[in-house]
């Protein structure tokens, strides 16, 4: 059967339109970050400036607090991703391999946390963390982000564990290994792709979080990237080149992690959606 030409052309054109729509805003961000200040207004709508410069990047890296924001965000997102993945591997394993009385309560509790508006927690969390000295601190943010991300990560890890046959650890236990040894030595190494995907998901989520960071942090020392960029925007809303250079820098870690987990996205999200 010969496929006709017209639908094929229409198909490619539609795909092309989607790619343009998806990439154009990011392209524009990058373009303005390279445009020298004197051309910014005169060449506003040109697709590419007649001269380019990296000066916005060097300014942002040398004369602003963005390196601090970047470091803070890296610490917060990295720690959150690692702690969540450890907790979620354990709880995901429990949900996947054991039948116990509280199992349905635990699943129910985790589903509930996905349903209610997190905005509702802004005020109480602020009130609870203040006397503990955890506002304005990276530790406070890590604790909050870890708890927010554990439920989804647990479902994600559970679906990866479900994909590994039970015979493997039963065989190991017949050979005399305890269940925990079997989990550590046999099951965990097989779940490495799942662990990578969970790390990536949680890192990206923590990297993007804005509302709680705005509420819990004030001042530059403990500010994460979203807060820093937003403060910068409301203070100096004319330095477009620098803001967009900072934006491109904020995009890099998230985009890297996205490329890392891209392959597992379809698998992971389906699992999450079905469980939800």
């Amino acid at each position: 059967m010969k496929t006709s030409l017209l639908p094929t052309i229409a198909h490619r054109l539609a795909i092309f339109a989607y790619v343009i729509f998806a990439l154009f805003p990011l392209y524009w961000l990058f373009k303005v970050s390279l445009t020298p200040n004197d051309l910014l207004y005169s060449e506003g709508v040109r697709m590419w400036p007649s001269r380019t410069t990296w000066e916005h990047y060097s300014f942002v890296l040398q004369h602003s607090a963005f390196p601090t924001f970047f470091k803070n965000s890296l610490i917060v997102s990295g720690s959150t991703a690692v702690i969540v993945t450890i907790c979620a591997s354990l709880s995901g394993y429990a949900l996947s391999r054991f039948n116990f009385r509280a199992k349905y309560w635990i699943v129910g509790l985790m589903l509930l946390t996905q349903m209610f508006p997190l905005v509702m927690l802004v005020a109480p969390i602020f009130k609870i963390l203040t006397p503990l000295g955890l506002t304005n601190s990276l530790t406070g943010l890590i604790v909050v982000y870890t708890a927010f991300n554990v439920p989804f990560a647990t479902f994600l890890m559970q679906s990866f564990f479900d994909g590994i046959p039970k015979d493997l650890e039963e065989a190991a236990m017949i050979d005399g290994a305890t269940k925990f040894t079997a989990f550590r030595e046999i099951i965990l190494p097989l779940t490495l792709p799942g662990i990578a995907a969970t790390l990536g998901f949680v890192f990206t989520a923590a990297w993007s979080e804005l509302l709680f960071a705005l509420m819990l942090i004030n001042g530059n020392n403990a500010a994460t990237f979203p807060v820093g960029l937003l403060t910068f925007v409301s203070k100096f809303s004319v330095d477009f080149g620098q803001m967009m250079a900072a934006g491109v820098l904020a995009l890099i870690p998230a985009a890297l992690f996205f490329l890392l987990i891209q392959r597992y996205l379809v698998q992971g999200l389906t699992a999450g959606a079905v469980k939800g």
């Binding site: 998806a22 990439l23 354990l90 709880s91 635990i106 554990v150 477009f240 904020a250 999200l269």
Partner: protein
């Protein structure tokens, strides 16, 4: 009788009691770290937050904190800004979910067909999803800004605008700004989920249908859609709840303005807590939002159950 059965069971179970205890507690030990975190950081604040709704809690007022009953809810019932926010939430959620779903479905159908370079195209069109939401908001706010962005100039050239102005400061159209940003950002989620569902449809069904002479539309209507229906139902439900709570784009792009035209309930709660520092009132609004969302979810689940029973 139960006694003897119990004794019998115990005799059968030859493990020493320490071992039995260890085995029974094992799943709890595995789930303990996750559970403790969820209970301490989410469940306890949730309960505290519900109690705030009935108390006078203002951060800068040391004399606040007393129990005031339903006073917040009385104020709320007369709060015009709240009703505007409720209306805006419906508009924001409805338009965002519908457009994300429609364009996501089309994209999934396009990607379901094999072609050269599909892997690369897939990575590129899914990229917006990796963009942090605050950055997506800023990025689109800049695109809509006539000083730095091209969109106002394009609209002007097309004759849709009398002069290149900022759509985000136009009370009539401001809401379209965050909606477009949200659609751009959210299409990949629907496309990924629907693509996964599409790929699980058995291919021979389509072959059989085309041998029988079914047109593309007939195949789509009687094979693709029924297979996708459960995924569509779940993702639309989840996304509706999620998007109505999603204040990031609005906080970043318009801050609820101009004149509250883009204020949704979620961003209104945030404004009350963050700017007015009135935690009691913010919690009361949040409680109303929670009840509305629960009612919506229940309604959808009931509706689905009724439809399933009929079918």
């Amino acid at each position: 009788m139960t006694m003897t059965a119990d004794v019998y069971d115990r005799r059968q179970d030859r493990r020493p009691w320490q071992k039995r205890l260890a085995d029974a507690s094992e799943p709890y030990l595995y789930s303990a770290p996750a559970l403790i975190l969820i209970i301490v950081v989410m469940l306890v604040p949730l309960v505290v937050g519900i109690s705030y709704a009935f108390r006078d809690i203002q951060l800068l007022n040391p004399f606040s904190g007393g129990f005031i009953g339903l006073e917040h809810f009385e104020t709320l019932s007369k709060d015009r800004a709240f009703y505007t926010a409720l209306k805006n939430t419906l508009w924001w959620t409805g338009a965002s979910v519908f457009l994300q779903f429609a364009f996501g479905l089309i994209l999934a159908l396009l990607l379901d067909k094999p072609f050269v370079g599909r892997g690369l195209v897939q990575a590129l069109v899914f990229l917006p999803w990796a963009v942090p939401s605050f950055l997506a908001g800023l990025n689109w706010a800049w695109l809509f800004n006539p000083v730095i962005g091209p969109i106002p100039h394009w609209l002007f050239d097309l004759g849709l605008m009398s002069q290149p102005g900022n759509i985000l400061s136009d009370p009539q159209y401001a809401m379209w700004g965050p909606i477009i940003a949200n659609v751009w950002w959210g299409i990949p989620f629907f496309a990924i989920t629907l693509l996964a569902a599409l790929q699980s449809i058995p291919r021979d069904l389509y072959e059989a249908a085309s041998i029988d002479g079914a047109s593309w539309f007939q195949r789509f209507w009687s094979i693709t859609l029924p297979f996708l229906a459960p995924t569509i139902a779940i993702t639309v439900l989840l996304r509706t709840v999620w998007i109505s709570n999603f204040a990031d784009l609005i906080v970043v792009m318009t801050g609820g303005g101009p004149a509250d035209r883009t204020q949704i309930v979620a961003s209104y709660i945030f404004t009350q807590a963050f700017k007015a520092l009135d935690f009691g009132y913010a919690s009361a609004i949040a409680l109303v939002l929670l009840v509305l969302l629960l009612a919506y979810s229940m309604l959808i689940i009931l509706l689905r159950q009724t439809l399933l029973n009929k079918g």
